[in-house]
Symmetry: C2
Subunit: 311 residues, 2 copies
């Protein structure tokens, strides 16, 4: 297991639980946008989570689903999409012609985020845009949880998967952010490729038990993630055996035993996605290392009210 500084930036401790801005701060601002990341940084967050998908011209862009997400993508007329072409089928220039500054209030997805500000003219960022921001002197202490989305359609295309990893790692290296970036995925095989491409970069292992459905309006990762048949109680060990440094369990799966086991093995435990007050309180009781949240202001308030620092 790695003990690199990018991992330690996510490690909690006595009276300390870290806050990771999920897709920036999805509860407050449109997800995976530069405006969202800038907001998260402006309130002092030093840990950002976001999702990377590859375009047809092999440019890593920051968006969550493998297809343009109809409830958050609008066309040149300002209308939400009615079909969802694959990101992998479009060149990056075309992807940036869409506006991702609003959420469709009639969609089930939109109803989940009633407080999200709505701004016209926001574009899908390239990975490079965020990395460039992070190089500024003001953000020298910010670390990244870079989720590589694993497309089930390319699951067996090793050449493509290696190129995906290589492209992402190359951009991180060009930006000199290797020491401040975790490579994060549900796809444990893809994380093996990451370790092989970038042995000095820590890997972060996402899990979600198969009985828990994907959140409304989001791609499921069930088809690309291990099933853990007969091994559910050994997940932290499996993460370590696979060379992982951080374990990122789904909020409904996390238990006191799991957290204790993981931490005794030296893993960092960051839980996703923790938005409700009672869930924040449960994470405090469990003593997790980090909380991944759409509402970082709410988590800051709650932690401080409980006498817990978040950095």
């Amino acid at each position: 297991m790695s003990d690199l500084s990018a991992v330690d930036a996510f490690r909690g401790g006595d009276g300390l639980i870290r806050i990771v801005g999920h897709r920036g701060a999805r509860g407050v601002l449109p997800e995976n946008t530069m405006l969202g990341f800038e907001f998260a940084l402006s309130i002092g967050l030093d840990l950002l989570e976001f999702d990377v998908v590859m375009t047809s011209d092999m440019v890593p862009v920051i968006t969550h689903n493998h297809r343009l997400h109809a409830p958050t993508f609008r066309d040149g007329n300002g209308d939400f999409l009615t079909d969802e072409p694959k990101v992998a089928s479009l060149p990056s220039a075309q992807i940036q012609s869409f506006d991702v500054g609003r959420i469709d209030g009639e969609s089930a997805y939109g109803k989940r985020f009633p407080d999200q500000a709505q701004i016209d003219g926001l574009k899908v960022p390239c990975l490079r845009d965020l990395l460039t921001l992070l190089r500024l002197p003001d953000h020298q202490n910010t670390n990244l949880m870079l989720e590589i989305k694993s497309d089930p359609d390319f699951r067996n295309d090793t050449t493509y998967r290696k190129e995906l990893v290589a492209k992402v790692v190359a951009e991180v290296r060009t930006a000199e952010l290797e020491q401040r970036t975790l490579l994060h995925s549900f796809d444990w095989d893809l994380l093996k490729l990451c370790q092989s491409e970038a042995p000095t970069m820590p890997t972060s292992y996402l899990t979600q038990m198969p009985e828990n459905k994907a959140d409304v309006g989001e791609d499921s990762s069930q088809s690309v993630t291990p099933e853990f048949v007969g091994q559910r109680n050994r997940i932290p060990e499996l993460v370590v055996e696979n060379g992982g440094s951080l374990w990122c369990p789904y909020i409904s799966d996390v238990t006191a035993d799991g957290v204790a086991q993981a931490q005794s093995l030296g893993l960092c435990v960051a839980v996703w996605t923790v938005n409700e007050m009672n869930d924040i309180d449960r994470m405090i009781k469990l003593g997790v290392d980090a909380i991944v949240t759409d509402y970082p202001g709410r988590v800051q308030r709650r932690l401080l009210d409980c006498g817990i620092a978040w950095r």
Copy 2:
């Protein structure tokens, strides 16, 4: 009544309700801070409300209460204040030694804003700081609702009150923002002084019926505002008779008749402080011109979901 552009910037219309960021965006970020104003601007708001109080060295600063507000002011040790000296008793340099980036979660006031981000190192802005920001090319279309807080202790000190108004107006003029600023107060006599000092600047009349208590943790304005005995149904007429351009009633006081009467007299109606979804919906039904809110993202979402533009 004035028909200046600063008023029209607050005027709604068919399918249009304006959004005014209350103390920036108090539900999201610490109130009356530059960070809060910058957030409000970043999500496209073009109307900002804030409060001005005078220091002992006659510097207009942006803060709500006449006394340093214990639940939001921390001393050099990072502790919330236990006493509340008057702003008017302290020089501006001393006021800026306090940190206003957090809210005391144990206070009744703090409990009202559970989602507010907490940032260390935020200072009380001088009026001049905000005016300087508004002069930037990006913010040429932003208008201000500048509330002058009327200190009951100086109610009968005409010299002091005239100087207060003159100082505030002078700063607005120096920043060349006369055409983009409303002078706003509960104290109708003070607004007379404003009209006399700055005849070309529109005035905005706040009202709250005496049976409605001040919101928890906030200075009451009851002692400086008219009582409207026997004239409650004529408030919009009184605003017009007094030379006002905008009427800003308290959310619990506003009625369909009041809105209709005010608008038929040519007044803009901006209602404070509208935070809850059912209240937003009520304002939509009433057809108010503008909603003053601590949660501008929520109001943007709701208006767009209802097919109503906000600018």
